[in-house]
Symmetry: C2
Subunit: 443 residues, 2 copies
């Protein structure tokens, strides 16, 4: 029981509460108490109502879950949403996205694009996201102001990028940003070497040294397509994951994104090193990249998180929808309808994401002592009736429009679907202006 | 131009209008005029404003498309939504769904379940659906009252079902219903032999004779899983589709649902006979049934429609989401990111559905002379910004919560997200009551 002498800041009384840890549990008639941004009480409604609380919220028909963790994306690319569709990965990148980035991406773009992505993600029940994009200091600043939680990955490539003339400059900026923010309660800085085919051994080794020194995470696109692996084998005689292992990059701090190609040796490397995989099913489908064998990874003990990827490829930042796709797809890929059931899918979208990002001590489940990062879903709509199992309904029958309230570190950032710190109309107008400028040039 | 002497009943002025036919066209600054339930004008805004109209609706930020056609489902099963999840098809059917149906399905169940399904589908932009469930006369009556359009398929199995002691009784009821409703402007009656493994040759031959006589459509689950095909080959030495061909059932009036297994011979049979396929991607994924090769079918000239399947398996009646899944999945299955692009996906969800149901002369595209079955999507939200191509945004970035208005035969059935003929609260309460009764028994 929390200290009874000190009142709760907020007591939430939902119809259902799914803590994610312990696994598979659905609590009915329970309350959740928050003080100083943290969860300090979870218990039966009757006990909850005996506590002092500054604010009490009855949430009838609502399901409380840990806030969703979007473990991979490129936030500011929201401004390129739908700019170039229905194209293969390399055509999309080389003929459309990279030229558009060269033409348009500057600090203003990243500021406005990141704000748009933050707003969309909050509206979709996401409380924490991983970002990998140019001008990471700008992105970090937007996250700071928004009240959201994020991992900002410093993009590193062997060639010049917007905001950094070369990899050394990018790394230097990254280390500075890391040090500036190392005590920030909601921001963590990671290294983001783009992919095995865009970052050579020399820069990967530098990243390994710096990440070891700073105890920083690393996020990287790895084995996104069969072509990537085949080309690496042809050119270097080595699969990319094996190369990362040789360079000493595998480990619990590494987040490998996509991983549609997994040989038995790859799986053994992931398991032994305790490396996380970030699954981006809709991006993999849309770009025809392949199928990540999620159930096989899960059963082998690999931590599998989930990400939306950037809105330019996908074309939304809807983690609930992404999780539904993952849950449906895993069954067909495994040839087994019991694969990735609804409860495990929710775990992938919360606690596994937190673990991938190194944040599992702080977020990812509703447990006393963790930060109050919480999403309230309204399951009272027609499309959710009847409710036999709220987790089944959440994963298989509920859209992100049912997200009603979102708290990060106990602060309400979405209240009855209204953003509390961002101006929705202003953001939409700004995005539309970017769209007009970019679209006119692109046509 | 419409007869200028007679005013339009309604003139719609959206930001974008996608007629579907001709293919790939996006009209900006256009208006659509309706009189007596039909589309009588599509033309530039300036011309539209010169016409007399009883009502004019400005629809800024909105996209008009043909109403979505849900070409396969089991409407009343909405009351079993999420009752039994994450199970293989035969376990799900034999251990859960069939016992629940035996226990619960009666006329009241079908009335309340069909109303729930109609409401959910209207809220999701669907104007026409295909139903295959027990007590089809009750379902037809609910459709009649709702103002929606539907094909009601008379379920036929070799064993007794709720409402019919045997196949002959079901067929007799079906013929009666067909004759009673043959002049109904929004209802068509089809035969619904459940599947090759539940209907023997004798009953299939009767259905062929009756369907030929009445010029009625036939909808049937075919090749849903690899097991179904393997078992048929083992038992009969014949693939189910080949058996249907031998029995004379293939043809433009036949709607084969699922078709995850397609050999070269199967494909040739479908093409030669002009038989339609109804793709249900989320059901196929969730039950691990397999992958329908949509792009291969499409390129061969087969008409591919799309259906949600019943909410008990899937667990929603969200055809827009289903279409997004289909568009994403088709690319990965074909190994080609250009497969089933956004415009073709929308065509699959509208005109191809109309064609499968034999309704393409009346609905499925926004063309002068067709019925005014229309959906207005609001693309002004943050998650749709910026809008480079409204069809890309619709298919890849828009949820059914963006459905704003729905008209069927010119009558508004969803107005600013409010159902005009059904009481949402009443429906939710009724569904919740069923859920409590069924759930208590099931646990």
């Amino acid at each position: 029981m929390p200290n009874a002498a000190q009142p709760l800041d907020l007591l939430l009384l939902p119809s259902w509460l799914v803590p994610v840890e312990p696994a598979g549990v659905v609590l009915k008639e329970h309350g959740l108490g928050i003080r100083d941004g943290n969860i300090v009480f979870i218990g039966p409604r009757t006990e909850a109502l005996a506590l002092q609380a500054t604010e009490i919220r009855e949430l009838p028909g609502m399901l409380l879950t840990p806030g969703l963790v979007n473990a991979h994306g490129h936030a500011a690319m929201a401004l390129f949403r739908g700019l170039a569709d229905d194209l293969p990965l390399m055509t999309w990148l080389k003929d459309h996205i990279w030229p558009a980035e060269a033409r348009w991406v500057d600090e203003d773009f990243v500021r406005d694009g990141t704000d748009l992505a933050i707003a969309e993600q909050l509206q979709g029940g996401i409380t924490c996201f991983s970002d990998m994009y140019f001008y990471p200091r700008i992105a970090a600043e937007r996250v700071h102001h928004s009240g959201m939680r994020a991992q900002i990955s410093i993009p590193v490539l062997d060639f010049p990028i917007p905001g950094a003339r070369n990899a050394d400059e990018a790394l230097h900026q990254g280390v500075e940003l890391f040090n500036d923010l190392k005590h920030h309660p909601r921001l963590s800085i990671a290294f983001g070497p783009h992919a095995p085919y865009t970052v050579g051994d020399e820069n990967l080794e530098k990243i390994r040294v710096l990440a070891d020194e700073l105890d920083a995470a690393i996020q990287m696109h790895v084995h996104e397509t069969a072509d990537e692996v085949a080309q690496a084998v042809a050119e270097r005689g080595e699969r990319p994951l094996a190369r990362l292992a040789r360079l000493g990059l595998l480990g619990p701090r590494l987040q490998t994104v996509h991983m549609t190609q997994i040989s038995d040796d790859d799986l053994a490397l992931l398991v032994e090193s305790n490396t996380s995989v970030v699954h981006c099913p809709e991006s993999n489908l849309k770009l025809a990249s392949g199928f990540c064998p999620v159930e096989r990874l899960w059963q082998a003990g690999v931590n599998v998180a989930i990400g939306t990827d950037g809105a330019a490829s996908n074309n939304d930042l809807d983690l609930l929808g992404e999780t539904r796709t993952a849950a449906l797809l895993a069954k067909a890929v495994a040839g087994n309808a019991t694969a990735l059931d609804a409860h495990r899918a929710l775990r992938m979208a919360t606690l596994n994401g937190a673990r991938a990002l190194g944040l599992e001590a702080c977020i990812g489940s509703l447990e006393v002592g963790k930060a109050a990062d919480i999403t309230a879903f309204d399951l009272s709509g027609l499309a959710q009736q009847p409710v036999y199992d709220p987790v089944s309904q959440l994963i298989y029958a509920t859209g992100r429009d049912c997200v009603k309230h979102v708290w990060v570190a106990g602060k309400i950032l979405l209240d009855n679907r209204q953003l509390t710190r961002l101006d929705e109309q202003d953001l939409a107008a700004t995005a539309a202006r970017w769209g007009q400028r970019i679209g006119a040039r692109h046509e």
